[in-house]
Symmetry: C2
Subunit: 387 residues, 2 copies
């Protein structure tokens, strides 16, 4: 099995790109990533595209072929992977497999999403495809409604007040305010979180990450070769994925993210490290309840205590466990199928030491945890700086 | 790189399964494949699902998680791949990568599609997502319309009459008539093909493969281990994929399937064989024009002469190059994202020598060629009997 490294990173700003489509967004990210790696289009052997809703919202299947075609990657092997908002994490994992197996030498991993062209019912219906179409969505349930029920249950079980989650959003917006690619650059004042209008009670407007457009590209190659290509490659120290039931109501314990637990646990094991060895964590903060539950599932907090890391302010850039270092889904934005690639790219920028105002000091090992649906799919990548 | 073999095969009949959904179809195929392999659910490390239109037609994203959940594959890594009707071929290729890289020991590859619940405009719109949404589908173009234009051009360039393609459909229906899983069991009489109503002139009703529902599952593991598991494993001798432009109108030569040429060429090279070493071929006979063009692109006919193989009757079960041996897309049916898995399964049944009335005598090496769109994606697998 070949050791794999990230040697190129490119991304578009995350936001509402009404003037750009899937092809243009991808092309910009690909061009930037190849320039970063010092490679040309003809050096690429394969393209893996993570995209969640292109068929539904953009009326476009076969997105990977479109992306390859428009970017000028003539004839290259190309395919799309999908696990809803974990599509990006899956794309990185499958891109890695292709190099690990020896099938490819240079792989482009692209996450791309373009969802803000539609609003209202069309968007809600699109997002609800992440749930069980026959047993959940058909009855009008949406993902944020399920998140609201999970949060209510958590608050009831553990006696936690709504404002005790606010630190996660404040941290995300503070970090996002320094990230020129973030969708939201404003800071959140204490008190604003709980007082904001409810989206699906108790989830408020300042709790729920915004759907967004954007594209992020990574260039992967063998670590052995990477060392000769760029000053600081970032190697994939380990990678793992798992699933849980599609519907949260089918779980024995609706407050335990089993897939995250299994994927992160396997990633720690494969990397031979413990959670305490992680210098920064990009997790899937689509809602603060998911943030708290992830921290509990992957070894950073006891059950019912995940919210405490925000209250104790351990999650800032200079804290014990920096999270959402470029704003996370909450402030950088959640471009669904691209999110997992943004997460890995941001961890890689930190490990390279090129995160600018968002830099976590002395970061050598970081983790990206990407979820699909309400914790149904989890993909964990532990990345490490190569010196 | 680990050598990979197929040790389990399961499939549902192909047809209009109005009483079954994605979950039930998949579950039936998975159960049959695991029984065939003598394995249990808990032996499976990963699930790769090929599905084209679940999000669009069934309002279901995250199909792989649904399939894993309903089949009882609790917690298993699962993701979907998509390259329109090449999704199944991509699923096999990515499932193989996971074993080749050492990331998994036993992988389930499932192709599933459930499209016949919708008819008319909804179905046409869904299929048209395979084209360029902004430059083709937005103007009302559908895949069969593009196939019609390709066929008309071919007939004009090479002076071929419509009835000279009929042998492909006659052969497919003859083979399908013996296959209990085929959608169409009727035989076609000479003359019926050209006289049938036009779907998109000159493509007729008996030329165009029917959209269908169905699921097919393959169990993969290392060849070394496969030999101890079942009497006749079928190893993946080689695997390759390539793309062409999404829109046919962007191609320099609209009558040359470049992606098929590149994918098959690489597969021959990796396997160290020539086209003449292939004992049977499952190709992507969505339209007879695609059949002719594939035979020309992958080394079985000169340019402009692919139709001749049908006229000369070389494609029957006892001919020089048996194709569509269980009915092909035309008679077995075209369950889009599942098609590539059915193709590989059918080749594997031939190589095992368990193809019953459809058996090709002395078959030891076979190829499956799966296309997405009008030749935009091509995935080639060369399979070989292991004794």
């Amino acid at each position: 099995m070949q050791d794999v490294s990230i040697v190129g990173i490119g991304m578009t700003p995350v936001g509402e790109h009404w003037e750009l489509g899937l092809r243009e967004l991808s092309q910009q990210a690909i061009q930037a990533a190849l320039e970063d790696a010092g490679l040309r289009l003809q050096d690429v052997n394969a393209l893996v595209v993570g995209n969640a809703l292109g068929t539904y919202i953009n009326n476009q299947s076969h997105v990977a072929a479109l992306v390859a075609d428009y970017a000028g990657l003539h004839g290259v092997e190309a395919f799309r992977v999908e696990a809803m908002d974990a599509s990006g994490g899956v794309a990185l994992r499958q891109g890695m497999q292709m190099i690990a197996s020896g099938a490819a030498e240079v792989v482009l991993v692209v996450g791309v999403e373009n969802v803000t062209d539609v609003v209202g019912a069309a968007r809600h219906n699109a997002l609800a495809t992440a749930l069980d179409a026959e047993f959940e969505a058909a009855h009008g349930v949406t993902p944020v409604a399920v998140a609201g029920m999970m949060m209510r249950r958590y608050m009831h079980e553990y006696g936690v007040a709504l404002n005790q989650f606010e630190g996660f959003s404040i941290n995300a917006h503070l970090n996002g305010s320094k990230n020129q690619n973030a969708m939201y650059r404003n800071k959140l004042k204490p008190g604003a979180f709980a007082a904001a209008p409810a989206v699906a009670d108790p989830v408020t407007l300042f709790d729920s990450a915004p759907d967004a457009d954007g594209a992020c590209a990574l260039v992967l190659t063998r670590t052995e070769r990477a060392k000769d290509m760029i000053p600081v490659p970032v190697r994939v120290k380990s990678s793992a994925a798992a699933t849980d039931t599609l519907a949260v109501h089918s779980r024995e314990d609706v407050l335990f993210l089993r897939a995250a637990n299994v994927a992160a646990g396997r990633a720690y094991q494969l990397a031979g490290i413990a959670p305490t060895d992680i210098h920064l964590l990009e997790l899937h903060d689509a809602y603060t309840i998911l943030t708290a539950l992830q921290l509990e599932a992957i070894g950073f907090a006891e059950r019912g205590r995940g919210w405490g890391l925000a209250v104790d302010n351990k999650i800032g850039l200079t804290g014990e466990l920096p999270i959402s270092t470029f704003g996370g889904l909450k402030a950088r934005g959640n471009p669904l199928g691209a999110t997992g690639v943004y997460q890995a790219a941001e961890v890689a920028l930190q490990l390279r030491g090129t995160a600018g105002e968002n830099q976590v000091p002395n970061a050598r090992i970081g983790m990206a945890l990407n979820l699909g649906g309400l914790g149904t799919t989890a993909v964990a990548h532990i990345l490490e700086r190569v010196d």
